[in-house]
């Protein structure tokens, strides 16, 4: 690695680590979670970066080379539909196939009990052994090719399982190479490492669907609770297996159903929070941080997040008031975010610069702030506004 890039990487990693740990450093780190925007910037359409991962990864490298940013996600277009198509996933709308070439992939969650990947009367089997349930029930339901035990086997089934494993290894190898390129060619930190979800979100998103789980929490609350507890151990294990072995960057956790608007606070307190808190605390004891990417509005839950150990999470602020988030959470946790996505899409560069200045001078002045958009940047983010965000971050971000 060229010495200049090595030096740059070291500076950026130190800055990013310190800010994530709520410390004051030389300047505010800039960590854009750029998804389809990176492709837009590189001249690719949405189908390009979603279905051809090589283009998606190249787009991120170009963004990291062209902009003075401290950290970025190796591939923020997090579903590679070329991979999910290899084993016949049913639940994605694929750009260029089901959708227009410039529409982002869509997760089509179960809308009816008949369409649910896990049925209401299957909690006991799921709780008994989640791995068995995924293999023998969930996977055959969500794939066009996988066959359940007892059904007639097909060549498509055998090939789909083979491709599934191979495609994942191919993807992991590409991501490892990508992290290396970001470091050696750009001096840019790969911002997150590791996979985790709140147990209740796993059930709601990928097994029962929102409608299904909405019924279950009233009709069989005990089983929903036991299911979240059964899943929790798997979530913790998976997070630790995939986390950064150097413990320098946080595990990424996208928070969903605890957001204001889905369920009541009572439901969150009973079903969503207990297992998430326990896993977060256990992962913290292992020396890792988790980035709570709180999509939507989460202010109601802040009092629960404050139960967590200091610096155990980095709180990413989407639709909440970031100034209030800083006031309530800032003594314990670093905060990221700051620039509204609609401003990045429809505003002017001078609007962006004004916003960045305001946020840094309030939220970022004492450190513990990472500049980013409020939500992942997709194809509607305008290049001049992204540029303005980065430039303003450097201009106003010296601490």
């Amino acid at each position: 690695m060229a010495q200049d890039k090595e030096k740059l990487y070291k500076e950026r990693m130190e800055r990013f680590y310190a800010a994530n740990h709520n410390e004051k450093t030389d300047m505010v780190p800039i960590r854009p979670f750029a998804a389809e925007f990176a492709g837009e910037y590189a001249g690719y359409n949405t189908q390009d970066v979603t279905h051809d991962v090589d283009k998606g990864l190249e787009a991120v490298i170009k963004m990291c080379k062209d902009f003075d940013i401290d950290a970025a996600v190796a591939n923020m277009v997090y579903v590679w539909t070329g991979l999910t198509e290899s084993y016949g996933t049913k639940y994605y709308g694929v750009p260029g196939v089901d959708l227009d070439v410039n529409e982002s992939f869509q997760y089509r969650e179960p809308r009816t009990e008949e369409g649910a990947w896990m049925k209401a009367d299957e909690y006991d089997r799921f709780i008994e052994n989640p791995n068995e349930f995924i293999l023998n029930v969930w996977a055959p339901r969500m794939s066009k090719y996988f066959v359940a035990p007892g059904e007639t086997n097909t060549m498509e089934n055998n090939i789909a399982w083979l491709k599934a494993g191979i495609s994942k290894m191919v993807y992991l190898n590409k991501l490892i190479a990508q992290v290396g390129r970001m470091k050696s060619e750009c001096g840019t930190v790969s911002a997150i490492c590791g996979i985790m979800k709140a147990p209740f979100d796993v059930l709601a998103d990928k097994f029962r669907g929102f409608r299904g789980i909405s019924n279950d929490i009233h009709r069989q609350p005990g089983k929903v609770l036991k299911a979240t507890e059964a899943v929790a151990n798997y979530m913790k294990w998976n997070a630790l297996q995939t986390a950064d072995p150097t413990k320098m960057v946080p595990i990424g956790l996208w928070l969903h159903r605890g957001a204001i608007g889905f369920f009541s606070e009572e439901v969150n307190k009973k079903f969503f929070w207990p297992t998430l808190r326990e896993i977060t605390e256990e992962i913290h004891r292992e020396g890792h941080q988790i980035m709570y990417y709180a999509e939507g509005k989460w202010e109601r839950n802040w009092k629960y997040f404050l139960e967590l150990p200091e610096k155990s999470i980095v709180y990413h602020c989407d639709k909440d008031d970031i100034f209030e988030a800083h006031r309530v959470l800032g003594k314990k946790f670093a905060i990221s975010g700051g620039v509204p996505n609609d401003m990045l899409a429809y505003g002017k560069p001078e609007d962006i610069k004004k916003r960045v200045k305001e946020v840094i001078e309030t939220v970022g002045r004492e450190g513990g702030f990472i500049l980013d958009a409020e939500a992942i940047m997709q194809q509607d983010t305008r290049v001049e506004n992204f540029r303005a965000m980065v430039e303003a971050g450097r201009e106003y971000g010296v601490l």
Partner: protein, 55 residues
């Protein structure tokens, strides 16, 4: 929390104890045979949760 969360080892799909029964006898170092059976079992389990959580 109940004991449900620790009931099963997430890294295990087909336990070594079950696999071992297929062999009449493991000549040589059983630990290296066990090691790689469990490693690929773990990788397969990781793939299942990759499908569920990430893809």
């Amino acid at each position: 929390m109940t004991e449900e969360k620790n009931k099963y080892n997430p890294a295990v799909l087909i336990p070594w104890e079950k696999k071992k029964k297929e062999y009449n006898e493991v000549k040589g170092d059983e630990q290296i045979v066990k090691k790689w059976w469990e490693e690929f079992d773990k990788q397969a389990a990781l793939f299942l949760w990759f499908m569920v959580e990430d893809m």
